[in-house]
């Protein structure tokens, strides 16, 4: 069930008042939260919910086992392998089978790996990484090991279940223990985030997708160079508005439930270099990669060469995490090598670039890399990029009105990014100063406008695929 669907809105109207009624009964409240998580998950597939339940119980058991082998390496490695093999099996089996088969057949042998009728559970990449944070916590701080209901709730916490942000076990349980959950927090801010997120997704991301991105990525050979370039810029904007919008909605919903979610975006397109970009884009994933992969691999403690290798491995995993496709492998490697080039330039003490040049170079690189992220195959990505300079229609063959719209939108978007915090403070202060009825009417009107300017039907979020 999508978070921007009418049925979800109706469920919220029923769920939130009931949830708040139980504020003085935290155990009941958590039970309702747990049941609603499994209920929502079961709307995708009942068998997925059963799989998630079994997986969560397994993670709880592994956590208990690890806590009894205080900081021993072998049990921890085994537990993590079991935890991640679930993800690898469900999400990557077919990709690995097909790639291996192609390799083996090209060498003149027969592949014996069978084709399995597997369905990847929704949100598996997110809850597997959350499970890793719990296992590491249980291994490193055995006194932090939790009860089965707590682990079930952590892995089925519905605001983050389908597309993150990736929760960390220690942060989540700290909120439960502090007793700060269950009561809505910063209501005006939460409502602002929900409406803003819905507008970002329903109005702007779908407009960009429908108008500039989807038709061009579908038929790149029918477009002129400028239209292809517009599609690349359009996708850069679409993905940040889509995933950013999603994150705003779930962060707002979590606030209404009394929970605080990790920050996922810090205006990524204001980054001045690639390293900076990765401290602003999908922060819950990039910080996970840093803390659970890059640093355990040695981080920057083992010399320059090893550090750069660790960077590339981390970025490669970040790419592959998105899906079983060579396009994500290339996207991850591009970013990995991009960061390495930046590190080496810094190491060589090259002259510092002016801020605008660093910003422009970063945006160009990120936009170029998104082509591989969005394309259906490496060939499709390459065809699109090639079309920028060898094109039968010529470079300037484009709908000038549409290009002007995109240009204007990009400028306004850039301006809003720079002033987002000021805007947020102003709107939240405005909402707080309104009477209850005025605020209700304003909210109703804003939601009406978002629906009116949105697409027909319920659009899917880009990150639901991962």
């Amino acid at each position: 069930m999508s978070f921007v669907s009418p049925e979800f809105a109706l469920l919220c109207l029923l769920f939130f008042p009931l949830y708040w009624q139980l504020v003085n009964r935290p155990r009941w409240q958590r039970t309702v939260m747990l049941l609603s998580g499994y209920g929502l998950y079961a709307t995708w597939s009942l068998s997925f919910a059963a799989v998630l339940l079994a997986y969560s119980a397994g993670i709880w058991a592994l956590g208990g086992w690890l806590s009894r082998h205080n900081k021993e390496r072998l049990p921890m490695a085994l537990a993590l392998m079991l935890c991640v093999s679930f993800l690898v099996f469900f999400k990557y089996y077919e990709f690995l089978r097909a790639s291996l088969s192609a390799g083996v057949v090209s060498l003149g042998f027969q592949s014996s790996l069978p084709i399995l009728d597997l369905v990847t559970p929704v949100g598996v990449s997110f809850f597997t990484f959350q499970a890793v944070t719990y296992l590491v916590l249980a291994a490193q701080q055995p006194n932090q090991v939790r009860s089965l209901p707590d682990v079930l709730l952590f892995l089925c916490f519905w605001p983050t279940l389908f597309a993150g942000p990736i929760l960390r076990a220690d942060k989540f349980f700290a909120q439960l223990d502090a007793g700060t959950t269950g009561r809505p927090r910063e209501v005006s801010l939460a409502l602002y985030w929900i409406v803003l997120g819905a507008a970002q997704k329903l109005i702007f991301a779908t407009w960009l997708g429908d108008t500039f991105v989807d038709p061009v990525f579908k038929y790149p050979e029918q477009q002129g160079g400028l239209t292809l370039l517009a599609a690349m810029v359009g996708y850069s904007l679409q993905i940040v508005l889509d995933f950013g919008g999603y994150t705003l909605i779930v962060t707002g919903l979590a606030r209404l439930l009394g929970y605080e979610l990790p920050v996922n975006f810090r205006q990524p397109y204001l980054a001045r270099n690639l390293q900076d970009f990765w401290t602003r884009w999908h922060v819950s994933l990039s910080s996970f990669i840093r803390d659970y992969i890059y640093i355990p691999l040695g981080g920057n403690r083992l010399g320059l060469t090893r550090t750069q290798c660790n960077v590339v491995v981390g970025m490669l995993i970040s790419g592959v995490w998105h899906g079983p496709s060579w396009t994500f492998v290339v996207w991850g490697l591009l970013h990995g090598f991009g960061v390495v080039v930046f590190n080496l330039y810094k190491q060589a003490q090259g002259p510092a670039l002016p801020a605008w040049a660093g910003h422009t170079l970063t945006l160009l690189f990120v936009t170029l890399a998104w082509v591989f992220f969005r394309a259906d195959s490496l060939t499709a990505a390459w065809d699109l990029l090639q079309g920028l300079w060898t094109n039968v229609h010529g470079f300037w063959h484009a709908d000038s009105a549409q290009i002007a719209q995109l240009g204007l939108f990009t400028v306004v978007f850039g301006f809003m990014c720079r002033h987002a915090e000021r805007l947020q403070t102003g709107v939240v202060a405005g909402l707080q100063s309104m009477s209850r009825w005025t605020a209700t009417c304003v909210l109703a009107l804003l939601i009406y406008l978002v629906i009116a300017l949105g697409p027909s039907g319920v659009p899917g979020f880009i990150y639901y695929r991962f």
């Binding site: 027969q110 369905v119 195959s377």
Partner: protein, 318 residues
Amino acid sequence: MRQLGWMLWVVGGLNAMLWLDALDNYLEARFEWSLSSYLPRDWFEPSRRMANAVSELNSHIGRRDPEGAERKQIQPEPTAKATPQAMRLTVQALPAGAFWPSLAVQKLTPGPQRILFAGDSMMQGVAPLVIRDLSLKHPDWQMTDLSKQSTGLTSRKYFDWPRTIQQEIQIRNLSLVIVFLGPNDPRDMYLPDKRVSFGKPEWLENYAARVDEILGYAVQNQVRVIWLGLPAMRDEPLQRGAVVSNHVFYDRAQAFGTDYLSTEPLIGLVSLPFKKSMPDDHGRPLNLRGEDGTHFTPAGLHKIKQALVAHIEKAQPQ
């Protein structure tokens, strides 16, 4: 918290009233449940009027369907009532291993073709491959892909394919229409005065009438049609739907003298249990179906593309 609860209810209630008509369409298309069966018709009128105003505004600012305004001007003439042969109102499952074979009876008109690709997410996967292939062979052909996911023939309120195709025939002076849809159709149908359960003779009659609207109008205007049949589906309701849909598509194509392209021998027979893979030319298993057991892998799409392109090439005048 109680005040916040009330606030959410007021906001939700107001928007539900203001979007009542759209909500009704959505619920009908998604859950086969219609609010209009329970609420007075007058309640829907304000939201319908507001939705029309919003739609006008959206088409002015280039949002949503940019050609919608042009389509609105077109009022296709009704299809001739008399159809060549009425639909048989019972569907008999074919014996295991049998399927409705392809029909290739039409020849394309000489000269460059103007082709429309219509359908749901099945067509969304196939159309780009076919268009790319045909564009290379025939750079002067004009091809339009209007495929839209979650659409079908059952819910006209959500998306009206018969009307859209008729309008497109007029706007683009089409010479060929290719249709590939069906997985969204095995559901109850809401007629103006009643709800008709899926699979009942009345459902079949109405479903066939919608296919007839497309075929009848196309034949009247000398437009060729290739209707693609569905392959086996993993989900039981979709598999039952494929049995019914293929029966209707084949029957109506035969009645109107248009083409039917069976995807069953390529991807999987509806009369046999679902399988994700089929052996390739060298006897190695080839994964043809996506994870959902409905859509196709690139290899599956490639097989359908090859068959469709070959079918079109064969239909060209010598």
